[in-house]
C-alpha cells in the first residue's frame, strides 16, 4: 500500500487531469464553434465588405464615364478626351478587380460578354457608323426593336476604347452618337449587374440553406477559391502568356486585350489585386473576415505563403515600365518574372480547395 502522502498526490493528480481533460473538450468544441462562425462571417463579409461595395463603386465609375463621354461628345476638345480616357481607365480598375470573383450574375447572366467582348468587329463597326441604324443605348440593347440587338463585338468597353483613343478629336456625328450610346449601355449593364447581385449575394450568405444554389458553406467557399485560381489562370496562362509567347515563339502584340489604350498592364495588375482583395476581404480600406482568416485558423503557414505570393505578383508588375505591347518585345525578363510569380501564386492557391474540404464541415 502506498504512503498516504503519495495517495493524496495521486488523487490530486487524477482530479486535475480530469478537470483539464474536460476543459480540453470544451476548448475543442469552442474552437469548432469559432470556426463555424468564421465560415459564416467569411461568407457575409465577402458580400458586405467587398462584393456589394465594389459593384456599387463600379456603377459610380460607369456613371462618371457616361458623363465624361457626354461632355466629350458635346464639346470635343483634347482636355475632354483625356478626361474621358481617364474615366474609362478608372472604370476598368473596378471591372478588372471584380474579375477576381467571377461568380454569380456576372457569370450566369452574361455580363462579361456584354461589356468585355474582344476583339471588336472593325468592319461591322465601320458599317454601323456608315449606316443609319440608331446608336442610342436602347437600340444597342435591342430594347426598341428586339430583333436588332447589336452584336456583342460592337458593344461594351472595347468599341468605346476604340473611339476614345482615336487620334485627334474630330469625331463625326455618328461617332459622337455611338460613343454616348456605348457609355450609356455600359452604365445600364452595370446597374443591372448591381440589381442582380442582390439575390445572388443572399444565396451566397445563406449557403447550405433552402433557396441557395450552394448546398453547403463549403461549396460557396470553394466557389470563391476556384475563382481565385481561375483568374490566375486567365491572366497568367491566357491574357499575358498568349501575346508574350505568340505563335511559334515570336511575341504578338496585336492580340492584347486593350490594344487601343495600352492599358493592359493595369488591367492584369488589377485582376490580381482584385483576387487578393477577395482573399483578404478588403475594399477601399475596409477589411472583413476573410478566407485568409479561415486558412490561418488551422494553417498559418499556408496563409502566409499565399499572402507572400500575392505580394510578389503585385510587385513583379513594377518590373514592366512600358506598355505591355512594347514590354513583350523589350522587357521579356520582366514579363516572364510576372508570369512565373503568377504561376507560383496559382500553385499556392490550389491548396485552398483541399484545405476547405478538410476543415469546412457542414
Amino acid at each position: 500500500m502506498l504512503k498516504k502522502s503519495y495517495l493524496v498526490l495521486l488523487g490530486g493528480a487524477l482530479m486535475t487531469a480530469a478537470v483539464f481533460s474536460s476543459c480540453n473538450n470544451k476548448d475543442k468544441e469552442d474552437n469548432t464553434n469559432d470556426f463555424t462562425e468564421l465560415e459564416s462571417k467569411t461568407l457575409s463579409s465577402f458580400v458586405s465588405t467587398l462584393g456589394t461595395p465594389l459593384y456599387a463603386q463600379f456603377r459610380e465609375k460607369a456613371s462618371n464615364l457616361n458623363q465624361s463621354v457626354i461632355t466629350l461628345a458635346t464639346n470635343p476638345t483634347e482636355a475632354n478626351q483625356t478626361a474621358a480616357r481617364d474615366a474609362w481607365r478608372e472604370v476598368r480598375v473596378l471591372w478588372e478587380q471584380s474579375e477576381g470573383f467571377l461568380i454569380g450574375p456576372v457569370d450566369d447572366n452574361n455580363y462579361d460578354p456584354y461589356m468585355d467582348t474582344w476583339p471588336t468587329d472593325r468592319s461591322r463597326l465601320d458599317s454601323l457608323l456608315n449606316s443609319e441604324a440608331p446608336l442610342d443605348a436602347d437600340a444597342l440593347a435591342g430594347l426598341t426593336d428586339t430583333e436588332s440587338e447589336t452584336e456583342l463585338t460592337l458593344r461594351g468597353f472595347h468599341p468605346l476604347e476604340y473611339l476614345l483613343w482615336k487620334d485627334g478629336v474630330n469625331y463625326t456625328d455618328r461617332e459622337k452618337e455611338y460613343m454616348q450610346g456605348l457609355a450609356q449601355d455600359i452604365l445600364n449593364n452595370v446597374t443591372k449587374l448591381n440589381a442582380d447581385w442582390v439575390p445572388f449575394s443572399e444565396e451566397f450568405i445563406n449557403a447550405g440553406q433552402d433557396g441557395s444554389r450552394y448546398e453547403s458553406r463549403q461549396e460557396a467557399l470553394i466557389a470563391l477559391a476556384d475563382a481565385l485560381t481561375g483568374i490566375c489562370e486567365e491572366v497568367g496562362d491566357g491574357k499575358m502568356k498568349e501575346p508574350f509567347v505568340g505563335v511559334g515563339g515570336t511575341p504578338d502584340s496585336t492580340i492584347t486585350e486593350s490594344p487601343y489604350s495600352h492599358n493592359s498592364v493595369a488591367d492584369f495588375r488589377n485582376n490580381i489585386i482584385g483576387a487578393r482583395n477577395v482573399y483578404i476581404c478588403s475594399f477601399n480600406g475596409t477589411e472583413g473576415t476573410s478566407l485568409s482568416d479561415l486558412v490561418a485558423a488551422n494553417n498559418k503557414t499556408l496563409d502566409q505563403d499565399i499572402l507572400q505570393k500575392f505580394e510578389a505578383v503585385i510587385n513583379s508588375f513594377d518590373g514592366i515600365t512600358t506598355t505591355f505591347e512594347k514590354a513583350i518585345y523589350d522587357q521579356p525578363s520582366a514579363v516572364q518574372n510576372v508570369l512565373t510569380s503568377i504561376e507560383n501564386l496559382k500553385t499556392s492557391l490550389e491548396s485552398l480547395q483541399p484545405y476547405l474540404q478538410t476543415y469546412v464541415k457542414d
Binding site: N110, Y114, T117, W118, S123, T146, E147, T153, E215
Partner: protein
C-alpha cells in the same frame, strides 16, 4: 532419399497451391466508387466551371493542345476582313462556341440575341443522296438568324410559351411550359412542306468517353422490335459521315445524326458560326471555291475537337445521402434506366489512357427512342423519325443550375425543372413517366434528389 522426400514434398505444396486456387471472383459492385461518373476521367468540381475541366494524365503537349482548343472554343469570331479571327458568317447563329455552350453546358433558350443558345434545323420531306435530311432550297439544313452587314438573316425565330398545369394524384401541381415557335421574316420564300426543329445547345463534356464506347456495346442495349416486351425499343441511327464518306453509327447530336466528333465540331463551326474549315470548305449557300483558305486553320479546328474530346466529367455529389440512394433504386424500379442506362464500358484509345477501358455512368444508351407526341419535332434525320430522340446523357444534370444560373432541360430547354422534364416523357417512356406520377411525393423527391446528384 532425403532429397527425394524434400522434392516430392515441395511438389505436393506447389501442386496444391496451383490446383486449390479459388476462381477469380468478380470485383464486387460495392467496391466501385459511385462518384466516378467518368471513371478516371472524372473531376471533383461542383462549381460553375464543372464542365470545363481537362482530364488528367495527359502529356504536357496534349495539355497545351487542349488549352489551345479551349481558347478557340471561347474565342469570338468577327466578320472579315479583320486581323484576328475573321470568317464569321455571312450568316450565323452566334459568334463563338461559348456563347451558346455557356460554361461548356447548355445555355438559354432564346433566339436571335447575342446570348441565345437556340438554333433551328430545317429540311423538306424526302432524303438526300446519303439518306439524310433533305436540305430546304435556299436555307440548307439549318436556319441562321443573324447576319453580318450587307446580308439578311435567313429567318427570325419567335419563341413563346403556353403554360398548362399538371396535377399529380396527390394534389401537387407543376406548370408545364409548352413552346410555340414561329418562323418570321424569311429572307426568301420557304419551300412547301418544310419541317423545323428548334434545339438548345447541349453540354459538350464527356464526349471523348462516349466516343470510345464500342458499337457492339451500344448495340447490346438495342431492341428495335421490343423483343423483350418491356415497351422500350431503342435503336441505333446509322448515318453518313461526310468526312470519311462512310456509313457509321451516329451518337452525337440530339438525334444522333453525327458519327464523329470532328464532323460534329466542324459542322457546328460552319453552320452555327459560318466559319469554314477543312471538313466543310463552304457554307451551303456560298459557292466558296476549294482553293480559298478556310476561315479557321486545320490545327485550330483539330485543337477544338481535341479539347472537346478531353473534357472531364464532374463527379457525383451527395452519394451517401439516404434520399439519393433511395432515388437511385426508384430510378431502376420504374425503368428510367431502360433508356438511361447507368453503366457503359469504354474501349481503348492508346493516345488517351484516361479515357480507355473506363467504367462510366453517362445514363444514356445513345440510341433512338420514340418519346411521344409532346416532344416530337416531326423532322426525320437519317433513320431517326419525327418522334424519336437520342437518349441524352444525364451525367452533370445536377449541375445545370450552377453552370447556367437558371437550368433548362430537354432538347429545346422548355423544362425549367427536372420534374417538368420527366412529365414531358411519352412514347416508350410513357410507362416510366406514369409510374413516376403515381409515386408518393417523398419518393418523387428522392428520385429528383438522385438526379441532382448526377
Amino acid at each position: 532419399m532425403r532429397k527425394l522426400l524434400v522434392t516430392s514434398g515441395l511438389a505436393v505444396i506447389v501442386l496444391t497451391g496451383i490446383l486449390c486456387r479459388k476462381p477469380d471472383a468478380a470485383f464486387p459492385e460495392s467496391n466501385y466508387d459511385p462518384r466516378l461518373s467518368g471513371g478516371a476521367a472524372t473531376v471533383f468540381n461542383s462549381g460553375s466551371k464543372a464542365f470545363g475541366e481537362m482530364i488528367s494524365g495527359m502529356s504536357a503537349y496534349d495539355q497545351f493542345v487542349h488549352e489551345v482548343g479551349d481558347k478557340i472554343f471561347e474565342q469570338t469570331f468577327v466578320s472579315a476582313p479583320a486581323p484576328l479571327y475573321p470568317g464569321l458568317g455571312p450568316r450565323y447563329n452566334n459568334v463563338s462556341c461559348i456563347s451558346c455552350h455557356h460554361n461548356d453546358g447548355k445555355g438559354t433558350p432564346t433566339a436571335g440575341l447575342p446570348t441565345s443558345s437556340l438554333l433551328t434545323r430545317i429540311s423538306i420531306p424526302g432524303v438526300d443522296a446519303h439518306g439524310g435530311a433533305l436540305a430546304a432550297p435556299g436555307f440548307g439544313t439549318q436556319l441562321q438568324d443573324k447576319a453580318i452587314a450587307g446580308w439578311t438573316p435567313e429567318i427570325n425565330l419567335g419563341v413563346e410559351y403556353r403554360d398548362s398545369v399538371f396535377t399529380f394524384p396527390d394534389g401537387t401541381q407543376t406548370a408545364l411550359h409548352r413552346p410555340v415557335y414561329t418562323i418570321n421574316n424569311p429572307y426568301t420564300a420557304l419551300p412547301a412542306g418544310y419541317m423545323t426543329s428548334v434545339r438548345l445547345a447541349p453540354p459538350v463534356f464527356g464526349l471523348g468517353l462516349l466516343e470510345l464506347v464500342t458499337e457492339t456495346e451500344l448495340l447490346r442495349n438495342a431492341d428495335p422490335g421490343d423483343a423483350d416486351g418491356d415497351g422500350i425499343s431503342g435503336r441505333p441511327n446509322y448515318v453518313f459521315n461526310p468526312f470519311s464518306r462512310q456509313r457509321e453509327m451516329g451518337r452525337y447530336g440530339l438525334k444522333a445524326n453525327t458519327s464523329s466528333l470532328l464532323v460534329q465540331v466542324a459542322s457546328a463551326f460552319v453552320e452555327d458560326m459560318g466559319v469554314t474549315n477543312y471538313t466543310f470548305r463552304s457554307e451551303n449557300y456560298m459557292n466558296t471555291p476549294s482553293s480559298e483558305l478556310p476561315d479557321v486553320s486545320d490545327s485550330l479546328l483539330d485543337a477544338v475537337v481535341f479539347y472537346i474530346r478531353t473534357l472531364a466529367v464532374p463527379a457525383r455529389r451527395n452519394v451517401e445521402q439516404l434520399a439519393v440512394i433511395r432515388g437511385e433504386k426508384l430510378f431502376q424500379q420504374i425503368k428510367c434506366s431502360g433508356c438511361h442506362i447507368p453503366t457503359l464500358q469504354t474501349g481503348v484509345d492508346i493516345r488517351l489512357p484516361t479515357l480507355s477501358n473506363q467504367r462510366i455512368h453517362p445514363y444514356t444508351d445513345l440510341l433512338l427512342h420514340d418519346m411521344g407526341e409532346g416532344l416530337a419535332d416531326g423532322r426525320p434525320d437519317f433513320e431517326a423519325e419525327g418522334n424519336e430522340w437520342k437518349t441524352p446523357a444525364l451525367w452533370g444534370i445536377g449541375l445545370f443550375p450552377k453552370t447556367n444560373g437558371t437550368p433548362y432541360y430537354l432538347h429545346d430547354g422548355r423544362a425549367r425543372s427536372l420534374v417538368e422534364a420527366i412529365l414531358w416523357h411519352g412514347g416508350e417512356a410513357q410507362q416510366a413517366k406514369d409510374a413516376f406520377v403515381q409515386l408518393p411525393s417523398s419518393d418523387r423527391d428522392a428520385l429528383v434528389k438522385f438526379l441532382e446528384s448526377l
